[in-house]
């Protein structure tokens, strides 16, 4: 069937069975490789995207459920302060976990420009990182929040 959705601001129409995982549609039909397969079980967060402003796992979500909705992936963050903040903090080792984490951070910062460390950590508990890059990742999100606040002030 043909399903229409908005991905990173563009309306796209994909030919796929309605129960195809959104992650497969993003990675294979749309060749957006930044959303990653980690478990397919909604346990690790590697596949996290933002749907209508909310961070959601994409690995076990039928693409039919996002018809007509707005999906954002890490590819939309190139000019977002999060991108530079993660580079500045060198926030990752293997960095496989990072793109999903950036999407959770994006949804968090959209809703709250001054998250406390505890709020950041709570938001990130839907993610796993094997390399122990956690402290840097938290610092990168704090840095991006700072940049956003300064941008809002100036």
């Amino acid at each position: 069937m043909s399903i229409e959705l908005t991905v990173n601001g563009q309306t796209v129409s994909v030919q796929a069975a309605g129960d195809t995982p959104l992650l497969d549609v993003l990675r294979n039909h749309l060749e957006l490789k930044g959303s990653r397969y980690g478990c397919g079980l909604e346990q690790c967060g590697s596949c996290m995207v933002v749907i209508d402003g909310k961070a959601e796992y994409s690995c076990a979500k039928d693409v039919s459920t996002v018809a007509g909705r707005r999906v954002e992936t890490v590819e939309s963050l190139l000019d977002h302060p999060l991108h530079q903040a993660f580079l500045d903090e060198q926030a990752g080792q293997c960095a496989y976990c990072v793109s999903g984490i950036m999407m959770t951070a994006k949804a968090l910062l959209d809703a709250n420009k001054s998250p406390t460390r505890d709020q950041i950590v709570a938001a990130l508990d839907s993610h796993l990182c094997r390399c122990g890059a956690h402290p840097r990742i938290i610092r990168a999100i704090e840095r991006a929040a700072n940049v956003l606040r300064e941008g809002a002030r100036s």
Partner: protein, 703 residues
Amino acid sequence: MSETLPLSIQNNRRMEKWLRFQADRTVKLAVGKVEIGQAVLIALTQIAAEELDIALDRFVTISGDTADAPDEGSTSSSQSIEMSGRSVRLITAEFRARVIDRLARRLNCSPSDISVEDGAFLLDDEPTGHDYWNFSGDEDFAADISGTAQPKDPSTYKIVGKPIPRQDLKAKISGAGFIHDIVRPDMLHARVLRQPSREATLASYDEAAIRRAARGEFQVVRVGNFVAFVGADETTVQRAAVAAPNHAVWKNVRQLTPAHQEAAWYATQPSDDRFVGDPVPETDAGEVVTATYSRPFVAHAAMAPSCGLAEWRDGHLQVWSHTQGVYPLRNSLAEILGLTREQIVVRHAHGAGCYGHNGADDAAVDAAVIAMQIPDRCIRVQWRREEEFAFEPVGTAHMTRLKAVLDASGNPIDWTCEVWAGSHVQRPIYGGNMLTHEALPNPPPAPKPNDPPEAAGGGGTRNGTPLYDFPKKRIVHHLSLTTPVRTSSLRGLGALPNVYALECFVDELAEKAGVDPVAWRLAHLSDPRARYLIENVAKRCNWADRGPGGNGKGMGIAWSRYKNRAAYAAVAVEIEVDQEIRVRKAWIAADAGLVINPDGAANQLEGGLIHAVSMTLKEQVKIDGAGIASLDWSTYPILKFSEIPEIFTEIVHAPNQPTLGMGECTFGPTAAAIGNAMKHALGVRIRDMPLTRERIAAALLGG
């Protein structure tokens, strides 16, 4: 240089294997070690840029490619920077000296009059019109490396020692950057129906049922007991693979029980016994104290299940893998597929951090076996999450019994470390098998028990000998002839369980003697670098004020020198115990000689600490039925963001000491510091890892 030439150079003598100057004014640096998230490539590039005096951004660094980069074996055990770094330094220093010598003869001056600025040669600070690109030639690249050039004095370093950002991170956080993201023309997706255990045979399978579940087009590739589902649509082959185990009947499947998941199981097994160190005394001339510690089987549990790609075209096989060793993988592929090495190229592509030997090589072999059946297409095999947990080789369970004989004042006069474990390394070069090979016709014989020799740091014996000044020490190593499931290298091999045992036991001896644990360590330790770190960490964590404990809050300390000859680290932790242990704060002091990239180093030290906290508190592979039974993140939990301690890191400045890898040195000390903090917090000693809620409850009841 009195030291012998590094193995990396001995095996790759020609300059052109490592270094090429390209027409676009770039430099190609080719190395055998691969990026596994440890930031090795930027560090090696910094070393080359420093010695050659060429700007960093001119470097194109190639790594892990059997067609294009030198053979440096596997990337493991913190060797990347120790061996590869030393090699790159010697090579680039020699290249610079060669070219400058020749130019000096041409210009009729002394080599010391020539300086280099971003690759251009200056004579008395004036341009000469010559640079590496126009002046170096075939004679330089064809030369054999002698290793005799004198590298720069570390005090003059401008690039080495700086926190230069990595180059690979950008792609990885903005889109495609991993092997999983490679798209090739005519690519087909594949999934495998795994043989449940060695020697199991596929009696039958219901292909129609699998096709109904898959709801799409795919073909089945079967070679012996190896079955793969291959098609253009990834979702379809994934569905086929998820359904397949329920529609397949296997005979001769191994049967295991939860008893196999405990380290103590090894003590009931026949073993290959080895002895290292001082002879056993006739009698124990003093009080004998013993204690037994263990770590269970642990998973690499990388965030990404393994992936491999292969293409068989015109009699040549091209393979992409996140293996830690492209050359060893090529050798295995040649043997398994009956090809010559020259017919195969293996290229490294980045994977997720796993800190050891996971399913990477096996997934590459899967892809190659399928590619040989479907020529002229690129075959991409993606393992599933449950497949990775079930079939990657895991870190072996390991039990360590320590025995100290004490003199009248409580000082150890004789020390025995007795280890029971399976093979810590089952890479094929250590007698292990590739998973897929066991499913093919003419499978290889059962893997032989094997462990790295002492000269390579040992496996089960790694860090088994204490560096304390005890007069007599020995290790008795019982290397089990079999392992219940496939085991292989995981961060530090036996170092973590042995350091856990040693540094917990040291606390027990200190308590018995009524001496503060830090004071006890210092009293038995003369190595000044170790003493410095222990004192440093004790001071920074306010050890002297830690109090008597027993109130649910505890502080513990431990240290080790990885492999007894690599990087030193001391770690202190502050914990709170309610029903579970929470590590609140951690202090690291590390000495790894000359630091190439301090930011990368801190990342490694802290990553190792967090990995160890996770392993110590939570991790255990469950075994039942045909094999591993912990197949997802709920049955194999790892540390979460809300459980990460605040970490304070200090790296000793030791520019004149050889560079040592940082990846493993905090690993063992962190585990032991937590064990010791637990004792301080609640007065009970838990000797078997992981220190879970159940173990804590049991210890409190028993105590």
